[in-house]
Symmetry: C2
Subunit: 331 residues, 2 copies
């Protein structure tokens, strides 16, 4: 067989502030012939997610999931033509020994009879959907009739959290960054949605939309947003800290009011989490979320960037707040 | 019987900043004769605690527990001479109908055969000891071999938390406000103790005294202290927010760095609590703590102020940070 050139996005130096194109480089690498037990994957769909900003060390390929097709194989369990989900990051071609990479769900075959398109595996069968599912259900411990507030609500995680909360019978209030996204959230069934850029204050919006206070808060943003929502929470409220996108790219963080007094008096539970803590339960989430999508209960939107070279643009779009739904790259 | 004049400390106006003598007034009130079923209590020991700053509304007697002696009775269950714990606040004489006041543990007889002096009921059979017991055991979920950090550590709650942690097999590091208190904490068995006024930084002290990081943090202080300890916590650490004494008297709070990123990455659980949430379990705590005192495992120190008129001085001493142990007033 002809030799294959793999193209890979490497982190060249640590980001300072907003990630810049020159922080990364694309390298080309001629792959060796397969050994027994190995197969060669060609990336078809590659995921970009905010967490990728922080999980990859300098000199390494950016980590993350991809949907790929097997184009050569010396492994009896994986045949040429098989579609797989693999944790191969921003790499066009990868040689695998048949073992999962990264974590126990770092490799699995995709079912070709699944009516859901394979790219959705990046949004329903990976860290992001597991984050929405477990972060909300396990940390927020929602009860029907309660009120959830979620920010960055039109993103891949936020929009899933809001919809799962509707499935579970909660009142759902979302905050997002454009009027178009507000309309999107309302189309998903959110009871109220706000463009945080055009409202007077988050507190006023919460007073208007949460007449019975806030019981669950799924925070993707941090900073002053966190502080404002805490002020409207009910006694024994639960806060899942999933992300702090207001903070990731900040070179110097603005200070905020201390929050311990409010956590004390309202007897709040505030928990940070990283989704790998539920790694052994991920398949349960993938199964239930895929079923919800098939039943039309969970709407799923993709924003597709085209071409391996567009990965950085796709990634940086996550921090500009212009996207709706899960951002993926069609290689 | 001769009529009895009750003296009571009333909150005249809301505190601004540090409580001032003129925020309170002592009133005198002639009590009516007892009706059937009633008894008259004369206060012997009155508790002062920081939480009293916030639980009493203007025009009311300052709330809290007291140990009193029954001096008149028309109630068959309570005889003249009985010692009781009652939730009668800063009041010299109180007429009671035999029902608990304030909450279900607001009235109980003290056992005269108990070798522990009756004043200790204020420190082992009231909100403060229950706070130490449940706040630490329930919220921090300590495991033997783990490390606890507690601040305001020489106070009634802090010194009990540290000692309970030693009973449970933890490494215990305390922060307090004088060298005398540091010596006291070491005499209680704390593994390390610091005078926060004379160390360079809390972070440096923690790095020195917690080589394996911090697993449990019992916070009575808030503000920058909270932020510093979070920085030294281990993954899956637990934080009990019990108080925020750095904040209660502040007219304008200094801002702090946002903490959600650290809560997220360390997957911390931060819980605020008010001890009445475990009201039905309080007697279990009182029983176990009294036994620990009798066995010498839990040392208990009182600072006694003398006379009903000294209550305000006793109370304000709590905010000056000069005391060791539980502050009580001998009426």
């Amino acid at each position: 067989m002809a030799s294959v050139i793999a193209r890979k996005w490497l982190l060249k130096k640590n980001y300072e502030g907003t990630p810049k194109r020159e922080d990364l480089e694309i390298i080309e690498e001629e792959l060796p012939p397969l050994k027994d037990g190995e197969f060669l994957v060609e990336a078809q769909w590659i995921t970009v997610d905010p967490y990728q900003r922080i999980v990859t060390g300098v000199g390494n390929v950016i980590k993350g999931g991809q949907v790929g097709k097997i184009i050569q194989s010396k492994n009896n369990d994986f045949a040429v033509g098989d579609l797989i989900f693999g944790y191969y990051g921003w790499s066009s071609h990868t040689i695998c020994d048949g073992n999962p990479v990264g974590h126990i769900h770092g490799l699995r075959k995709l079912d070709p009879s699944n009516p859901v398109p394979p790219s959705t595996a990046l949004g329903t069968g990976d860290a992001v959907p597991a984050t929405a599912y477990f972060g909300f259900l396990d940390i927020c411990q929602p009860k029907p009739g309660e009120t959830l507030v979620v920010n960055a609500a039109a993103g891949a995680v936020g929009s899933a959290v809001g919809q799962i909360a509707k499935i579970k019978g909660l009142r759902v209030v979302g905050f997002t960054g454009s009027d178009e996204k507000v309309a999107y959230l309302k189309s998903l069934g959110f009871d109220a949605a706000y463009n945080y850029k055009t409202i007077s204050t988050i507190t006023d919006a919460l007073k208007e939309s949460c007449p019975n206070g806030v019981d669950c808060f799924f925070d993707n943003v941090g900073g002053e947003f966190f502080e404002s929502v805490l002020g409207q929470m009910n006694t024994f409220g639960r806060v899942a800290i999933c992300g702090a996108i207001s903070q990731y790219n900040a070179l110097e963080l603005p200070k905020v009011h201390p929050v311990t007094t409010i956590i004390l008096w309202k007897q709040l539970t505030v928990k940070g989490f990283i989704v790998t803590r539920w790694l052994d339960q991920w398949p349960d989430a993938f199964k239930e979320m895929t079923q919800w999508i098939q039943e039309g209960k969970l709407q799923y939107k993709e924003l597709v960037f085209n071409g391996f070279d567009s990965i950085f643009d796709a990634f940086i779009s996550l921090f500009k707040g212009a996207n709706i739904g899960k951002v993926v790259v069609k290689v």
